[in-house]
Amino acid sequence: MVSFMTIGAKGSWSFVFSFRGTRLASMLIVAYAIAVSTVLFQTITGNRILTPALMGFDALYILLQTAIVFLFGASTLTGLDPRLMFVVEVGLMVAFSLALYRFLFSSGRHNVHLVVLIGIVLGGLFRSLSGFLQRIINPDDFVVLQDRLFASFNVTDLTLVGVCVILIALVTFAIWRMFHTFDVVMLGRDTAISLGLDHKAVTMKILVAISVLVSISTALVGPVTFFGLLVANLAYVLMPAAKHRFTLPAAVLVAIICLVGGQTVLERVFAFDTALSIIIEFAGGLFFILFLLKGRVR
């Protein structure tokens, strides 16, 4: 982190500090959000290959944003406080993802491949629909939308980061309160219920937390498909036991190291700037195929 802040810094310290500081903060938030949401998602689905991103969650978030701009027009939206907007969007996201999840996992379909495939196709559908709406939106609105959608690590506004920090704090508090239940949930539905856990309520709560985290990371950097998958599985490999006391912090640390480290190396050493996501995409795809080939998917 220190190296990210200092290497290649030219010009006045105060500027560098504020500019890179914002970016660093957003990267930390994203790393945290993606790592935690992925590990928890894999806990409730009892599967190590499913991630929120694979299931089309981030595409859903983008579709929601597009739909809001489409329905209300940009003029209405610019009058509103962006922070308020963000909170509304997160709320909608939670509602939708709960509905989606219940539809996918309640009907007793436990074929993992089917669920993953449905998730991927849903993601594609959401993306196509967003593209469709973006074409019908009038051009002025589209500019506004583009500003909202394409916040990358280079352009993040401070207000959003502030809101995200508050939300993250809330979610973390909620997660911390529930921490003791995670390991039980991981044992699977029937076992958890026989151990006296209100399984349905707990998974719903976790899912709400996941939706919020996904919204945050997507709002800050857009969709990142495979990052969570890589990070979570690395954490499982590195840790001696599958207890969440180990895996959650490990995943967060791995995510931070990958994101900040990767970004620093790429920017300063190779002078690329947004190629990191592409590299992660490639590595993740490879990993995924190997995962499938090994047949380690239960």
Binding site: H113, I118, V121, G124, I278, E281
Partner: protein, 320 residues
């Protein structure tokens, strides 16, 4: 046969509609009684007619390519955009842009076709290496492979500032098809005819390697022919108009539900329905938000992914 003829008539009507839908006003009556001015005839000859022909050729070609792929991979859920074929063709395009940007269109198409062939071959090789071949794993692996290939493409496009030109074809769009810019699609058409001639062999190949060999069919050769047809068709469509997703998934499945898998009987239907579907989607894209256009790839993306979901959620019947 009777039905085929009436279906063809329907397609001709759709094509006629496609000729007279668009930003500039061209009316049928005035063309017939000779009062149309020079400009209208020009629009028709340079833009509308080529566009309509390109749609017909691309639609039927992609639908038939999808069918052949489904036979070869023995899986209902594959089509050129879920096997890495399309993405590989895109990588080929990028290589042409980088190495020899002033190649004639035909040569570009051939390069893209070679890449598409390699990509599809890779996909089939991965399939063979898979331990337990669950039906659903096949498209999963294909989609992931496609994602990896397009990551490579994006990476280099980004390095050489070609993202914009790559983005242009990433979404199928026939609005830029003019006279002199779509002729490669006739290659696709010729291959489609070839596919029809070899139809029975593909039907048998769909039964699997042992079965085909038992009947005295050279399985490897028919595989190779099929792959070449699929790659060439995909490459010519990608070079001309960009990615046209899901056509090769929707049409073969619908036709197969209706009339089974004897390709000799069903291929003409698949070609016709493919052409019809893409025409309808393109007309929707042109009219829904006139004077602006929605690319046919986006329209198909929405319809196609909904159909895909329907296929997945249908009670798993005899999926092979």
């Amino acid at each position: 046969m009777k039905y085929l003829i009436s279906a063809s008539l329907l397609i001709i009507c759709l094509a006629a509609v496609s000729l007279f839908v668009g930003v500039s006003d061209v009316s049928l009556a005035r063309i017939i009684d000779g009062t149309a001015d020079q400009r209208q005839i020009m629009v028709l000859a340079v833009s509308r007619i080529p566009r309509t022909i390109a749609l017909l050729l691309a639609g039927s070609g992609m639908a038939i390519a999808g069918t052949i792929l489904q036979m070869l991979a023995r899986n209902r859920f594959v089509e050129p955009s879920t096997t890495g074929t399309v993405e590989s063709a895109g990588l080929g395009m990028l290589v042409v842009l980088l190495v020899a940007p002033d190649l004639p269109v035909m040569a570009k198409m051939l390069v893209a076709a070679v890449f598409a062939l390699a990509g599809t071959g890779l996909f089939l090789a991965v399939l063979r290496a898979m331990p337990l071949r669950s039906i659903l794993m096949v498209p999963l692996v294909g989609i992931m492979l496609g994602g990896m290939i397009s990551a490579v493409t994006t990476f280099f496009a980004y390095r050489f500032d070609l993202l914009q030109s790559m983005g242009a074809w990433a979404n199928g769009d026939f609005s830029a098809v003019l006279r002199g810019r779509y002729e490669t699609l006739w290659v696709a058409f010729a291959l489609t005819i070839a596919a029809y001639i070899a139809a029975d062999r593909f039907t048998v190949a769909g039964m699997g390697e042992e079965f085909s060999t038992n009947l005295g069919l050279n399985y490897q050769r028919i595989m190779a022919i099929g792959l070449v047809i699929v790659s060439m068709v995909t490459a010519s469509v990608v070079v001309t108009a960009g990615v046209v997703p899901f056509l090769g998934l929707i049409v073969p499945n619908l036709v197969s539900m209706a009339m089974g898998d004897n390709l000799r009987r069903s291929l003409p239907w698949i070609g016709l329905c493919g052409a019809g579907l893409i025409l309808v989607c393109d007309i929707i894209g042109r009219t829904i938000n006139a004077p602006f256009e929605i690319p046919v790839g986006t329209v198909l993306g929405v319809i196609g992914s909904l159909f895909f979901l329907y296929l997945l959620l249908r009670r798993p019947s005899r999926v092979a």
